[in-house]
Subunit: 186 residues, 2 copies
């Protein structure tokens, strides 16, 4: 779990260009939003220069991406898991099934679950590993979810993220509720 020994001089250049293209704005516009000189940005995208943290931070904010996305340096076949397929982890406490869709690898700690819940019971999770984060998107039904004291109600298409290392709970409010859960482990 050591850090990457490659100084991201060139990585920053391509990352800036990639993220800027994603947002779809010009170099001039990005420089204006970030509050930096466009000459500076031009040189950064050209791969020359060693930006200060403040400069790169401002760019990250303007691009709407986390800072690390700009500095961390940068395989698969078609696989389908139909609803109801896949290895299931059934909760013994509540009417809930968690289906592991894609387990993370060493470098990419990422688990994608499909949650299926039925109303009437509450699924509580004490806490996961420190600094873990949960992302949830509801596909159908209604879901009351979140840390104790910060519960929110979600409908189809609603999204919520919250720390996974604090006690939290899931509770379906309508039949046929399902959601996508992306759990990050540090």
């Amino acid at each position: 779990m050591s850090a990457d020994p490659t100084p991201p001089l060139a990585t920053i250049a391509v990352a800036l260009r990639r993220e800027r293209d994603r947002v779809g704005i010009s170099l001039t516009e990005l420089a204006r939003r970030a509050g930096i000189a466009k000459s500076t940005l031009s040189q950064l995208e050209s791969g020359v220069g060693n930006p200060s943290v403040e400069t790169l931070w401002a760019l990250g904010v303007a691009l709407g991406v986390p800072f690390s996305r700009l500095v961390e340096p940068p395989a698969a076949a078609v696989r389908v898991v139909r609803a109801g397929d896949g290895p299931r982890i059934r909760s013994e406490h509540a009417d809930l099934t968690a289906t592991l869709l894609a387990a993370g690898t060493a470098h990419i700690r990422r688990d994608v679950y499909l949650l299926e819940l039925e109303p009437g019971t509450v699924r509580t999770a004490e806490s996961h590993t420190p600094r873990s984060v949960e992302h949830i998107v509801v596909g159908a039904g209604r879901l009351r979810v979140g840390p104790e004291g910060d519960l929110v109600e979600l409908g189809p298409g609603d999204y919520v993220t919250f720390p996974g290392d604090a006690p939290h709970r899931y509770e379906a409010l309508a039949p046929g509720t399902f959601a996508v859960l992306v759990m990050e482990h540090p």
Copy 2:
């Protein structure tokens, strides 16, 4: 939005001190291992100064921690993005809106999108960055998606993953189709 507006000037200071204490080495020793002047490190731990990326990167390597641990503020708070909210990237070619929900962090380069599509048009993507991977879970409607020649049809709860660096397409087959897209960038 997603990026933190607070410049991590002070965050870096406490992070450096914390990680250095964890390793159990002196300021002088850390400066030597990182190949930077100890005066520079002293000022950084004092909260003054705005280090360059190279400098901070060297410190991250010497400390054996990922770069982002030195700059990212501690934890994630509860954040809700209601359906229809969030910054949208609207396609000009088809009836599709992509909403950026959560950009990835240090080791985990992952963007979570909520895709909303209407039938009748086809959204084609040439290719993203090499080795990128897409994960899709359909929330409602029907979706025909995948690389050219390997298209699959998905209903609510269905899941598919495929390489993102090859030409692929999205096509809604029913009104009100939406899906969760998790895109990984290497």
